[in-house]
Each structure stands twice: as structure tokens, then as C-alpha cells.
């Protein structure tokens, strides 16, 4: 059984998320944790927008808040978002990584330690290399790794880097991603 999904995306990300997230059903059993690079801008507008489109509750992740199913969490602008082993959120103002704060790598790596093989990592459209190393870490822990097919991505650089560095298991068109997430979320993963 998977316990959480982490998602990283930048340029074109909001469009991609608007397609994927509303298709996750009300009883979707996993928390979804997203880093979307949007510069210094506030989150409020698109969180409100996504909340209207989604059946799951969309919110900004708060410091020390427990990570719960039924929620889609976004990293606040200008803070890194980390998941603790006790599955609560931490924020940090550390230096930018890959010119980014929040950084996808930082979220993915902390989540990989917290959830180990029970994590799904997803990289979508984007214009830099952030997330590739993090996805690799998820894979090294035995988690499931998915990348949007760069051929159809608005910005192919981020998925390309992820493919090259992390060699993820699954490469999918944007349209095929929601169904696969639903399927994976309800699958009983072989217990070792």
C-alpha cells in the first residue's frame, strides 16, 4: 500500500495540475503533496481555484501540521517543504536549491525518508532540473516513480532531466496520469 504522493512541477504546472487533481475522487486514500514553482507570488489565487475544481481539499501546508489523506497540500512560496518521519510538515528558509525555494528535491528526499517504499513520486512539465535527484532517491527506496512524457509537456526540460537521472519506472501522457494514480493508490503493494 502506498501512503503518499509527491508531485513536482514548474512551468506549465498549473495547467497540468488543473487537469490531474480534479480527477482524483472524493475517497482518494492518499495525501498529495505538491511543489509548484511560482516565484515569489502568493498561493492564494490558484489554491482557491483548485479548491473549486477538486473534490479533495486543497490547502497550503502548514508547519507541524499532520499529513492527512483527503488533502492536496501545496508548499508555501519562498519556503522549502519537508515531511518528517512522524508524517508532519516542516518548513524551512534554507538557501535556494536548483534556484528554487520551494525545491522539489528537498520535498522528495525528505518524503522518501519518511515513507520509504510506500511513496509515489511524480514529475510533470517544467523548465529546470529540480526534482530529478529527489525522484532518484524515491526510486532508490523502492518507491514508485512517474514522469510525464516530455514529448507532450508544455515545458519538457524537467521531465527530461527526471527521465535521465532517475530512470523512473513509468512514463505517461498527462491524460493517462490520473487513472494511473487512482489505480496505484488502491493497489495492494507486495509486502517484502
Amino acid at each position: 500500500m502506498y501512503k503518499a504522493i509527491v508531485v513536482g512541477t514548474s512551468y506549465g504546472g498549473l495547467e497540468a495540475l488543473k487537469l490531474i487533481l480534479p480527477q482524483l475522487p472524493e475517497d482518494f486514500p492518499l495525501p498529495v503533496i505538491v511543489v509548484l514553482h511560482i516565484g515569489e507570488h502568493k498561493n492564494d489565487t490558484f489554491i482557491r481555484l483548485l479548491n473549486e475544481l477538486c473534490t479533495l481539499q486543497v490547502k497550503e501546508a502548514e508547519s507541524k501540521e499532520p499529513v492527512l489523506p483527503g488533502h492536496i497540500y501545496f508548499a508555501p512560496p519562498n519556503y522549502h517543504l519537508l515531511v518528517e518521519d512522524d508524517r508532519t510538515f516542516s518548513l524551512s528558509t534554507d538557501e535556494k536549491l536548483n534556484y528554487s525555494r520551494p525545491s522539489i528535491d528537498i520535498l522528495f528526499e525528505s518524503a522518501a525518508w519518511a515513507y520509504q517504499h510506500e511513496l509515489i513520486g511524480l514529475i510533470l512539465t517544467g523548465a529546470n532540473s529540480d526534482g530529478a535527484e529527489g525522484l532518484k532517491t524515491i526510486k532508490s527506496f523502492g518507491g514508485k516513480t512517474i514522469v510525464q512524457d516530455p514529448c507532450h509537456a508544455i515545458a519538457p526540460i524537467m521531465p527530461r532531466f527526471a527521465l535521465k537521472i532517475a530512470q523512473p519506472e513509468i512514463r505517461l501522457s498527462l491524460e493517462a496520469i490520473p487513472a494511473r494514480l487512482v489505480e496505484l493508490a488502491s493497489s495492494k503493494k507486495a509486502v517484502e
Partner: protein
């Protein structure tokens, strides 16, 4: 991360705990209740920079080599800061706190976790513009002596001034930021009239007691690095340091929400995290 994988993730947790225990016993710095994910990230970074395989090897160096420890301390204390970071906070400060300060003939401010001082100079500028600087005594503390030295100098990179000037304007600044510093080569030096009322001092929020009794505490983006229990302990310390009706300013993503002091404050600005201590509880 070669030495660590799915199979021995537990080992890393154990080694990290031993490392922090060792640092506490040997050097007195207590990181045992800092965010684990944060500490792990910094430690793994240091490992790969030093080409070490395991945290146990790192521990050996940390305990035996005080100079190595000094550098490692830099990894654990995140000193990233900015002038007029969160401009809206400073706007709110002018609106919600300044009018009250104007009724005082003298007041004290404590910046806990001031890092390299950018935030202290920001507030000093604001108070100067409100005609309050002469009435104020600042204490600016941090547990990292290296950053305190920089804070005392008030010398920063010229390259950062563009962002700071923009922040300053957005914060409701009344002039130009460049009115407050002199440029020299690639650096700028803030004018001494700003810092003459600031005392910089070494203070550890985790292991030291109340620093002074003050009218205003600024402690921004420090608590986020602590676990819930330590946050609560430090919030209690900050509360004790405040006079009744004193002000507490936290970072924009910090709150009193999960703490035992929540009911001792009223929020003046929930979003900008400006709180006022109740008179008597």
C-alpha cells in the same frame, strides 16, 4: 547517500541521534529537538561534501576536532535572511504597533535569532522614520557568533540592495534605502546612527534563560526549525521575557496554534503574526 538505503534507514536515525547527543554533551549546543528532516538533510550534505560514508565517521571528526565542529555548526544554523523580508509585515507593524510605541518614552526590543542582522537594521530604519529610534534599546541575539560579527559590522553585499530596496518600498518606507548606507566597492555599510542603540550578544534560545525583560520580541523564522515540543518551550521563554501588553512578532509561517501560550496572547494581525500579550493571566 550511498551508505544509506531503504534497508538501513533506521541506522541513520540512530546515528543522527547519537551525533546530536554527542554534540550536546561535548559542546553544549542542543539540537536534539530540532526538526529531524532538516538535520538529516544538513548532515547528509556535509557527508557528501567531506566524502564521508557514514554519520559515525562524521561524529568522530565532530567530537575530536573543534574547528570541524565550528564549520559543522554553520550547516545546522540556517542564517538565510533578508532586509524587509515580508514587506507586508513591516506595513502591519507600522499600523498596529508604532502608534502604541509612540506613547512610550522608552522601550526595549529583543531580536532573538537575528542572524546577520538585516532584520535588525530594517526595524531600526522603520523606527528612525517614525521618530522612535532614540527611545529604543535593541538587543539582538543569536547562538552563532560568526553571524553576530557580521551583524555588528552592518556590512552587506551591494548586489542584494536591489531586492532590499524593493522590499523597503513595499514595506511603506518613507525615503530610499540608500539614504541609510554608504557604498564601498561591492559592499554597503549601514550608518552607525542606526546601530548605536543595538547590543549584539550570544544567546541560545534552547539552553539559556530569559535574556531581558522587553516590550517587543521579534523571533522570526527560528521556531520553524524546532519540533513541536521545543517550539513550545521557547515560546514560553519568549512569553516570560515580555512585559504585560508586550508584542510578539513571529515569522509569517509560524504560529501559536499548537502551543501552550496561545491563550496568553491576542492576535493583532493573524496573517502577519503580530501578537499582543494579555495584561494578566
Amino acid at each position: 547517500m550511498s551508505a544509506y538505503s531503504d534497508a538501513n534507514a533506521d541506522l541513520l536515525t540512530i546515528e543522527l541521534q547519537l551525533l546530536l547527543e554527542g554534540i550536546f554533551q561535548k559542546y553544549g549546543y542542543d539540537f536534539r529537538n530540532y526538526s529531524k528532516a532538516h538535520i538529516r538533510r544538513r548532515v547528509l550534505n556535509r557527508l557528501s561534501l567531506c566524502r564521508l560514508e557514514t554519520v559515525s565517521e562524521l561524529q568522530n571528526k565532530v567530537l575530536r576536532d573543534p574547528d570541524f565542529f565550528r564549520d559543522f555548526l554553520e550547516d545546522l544554523s540556517i542564517n538565510v535572511t533578508e532586509m524587509f523580508r515580508d514587506p507586508d509585515f513591516y506595513r502591519s507593524f507600522r499600523e498596529n504597533i508604532v502608534p502604541k510605541l509612540k506613547t512610550y518614552t522608552y522601550f526595549k526590543v529583543w531580536h532573538a535569532g537575528c542572524a546577520t542582522g538585516e532584520e535588525v537594521y530594517s526595524l531600526a530604519i522603520l523606527l528612525q522614520e517614525e521618530g522612535l529610534l532614540e527611545r529604543c534599546q535593541f538587543y539582538a541575539t543569536d547562538f552563532n557568533r560568526k553571524v553576530l560579527e557580521i551583524a555588528k559590522e552592518g556590512v552587506y553585499q551591494k548586489a542584494d540592495m536591489e531586492l532590499y530596496e524593493r522590499n523597503y518600498q513595499l514595506s511603506g518606507g518613507k525615503g530610499k534605502l540608500s539614504d541609510y548606507y554608504n557604498s564601498m566597492y561591492g559592499s554597503v555599510m549601514f550608518k552607525k546612527e542606526l546601530s548605536k542603540r543595538i547590543v549584539f550578544a550570544d544567546h541560545n534560545l534552547v539552553t539559556d534563560g530569559v535574556f531581558a525583560e522587553v516590550n517587543l520580541v521579534m523571533c522570526r523564522n527560528v521556531l520553524i526549525y524546532f519540533d513541536k515540543m521545543l517550539q513550545d518551550k521557547v515560546l514560553n521563554l519568549l512569553t516570560e521575557s515580555l512585559v504585560p501588553a508586550g508584542y510578539l512578532c513571529l515569522g509569517s509561517k509560524e504560529s501559536l496554534k499548537f502551543s501552550t501560550v496561545e491563550n496568553r496572547f491576542v492576535a493583532l494581525d493573524d496573517k502577519q503574526k503580530i501578537f499582543k500579550k494579555k495584561l494578566n493571566v
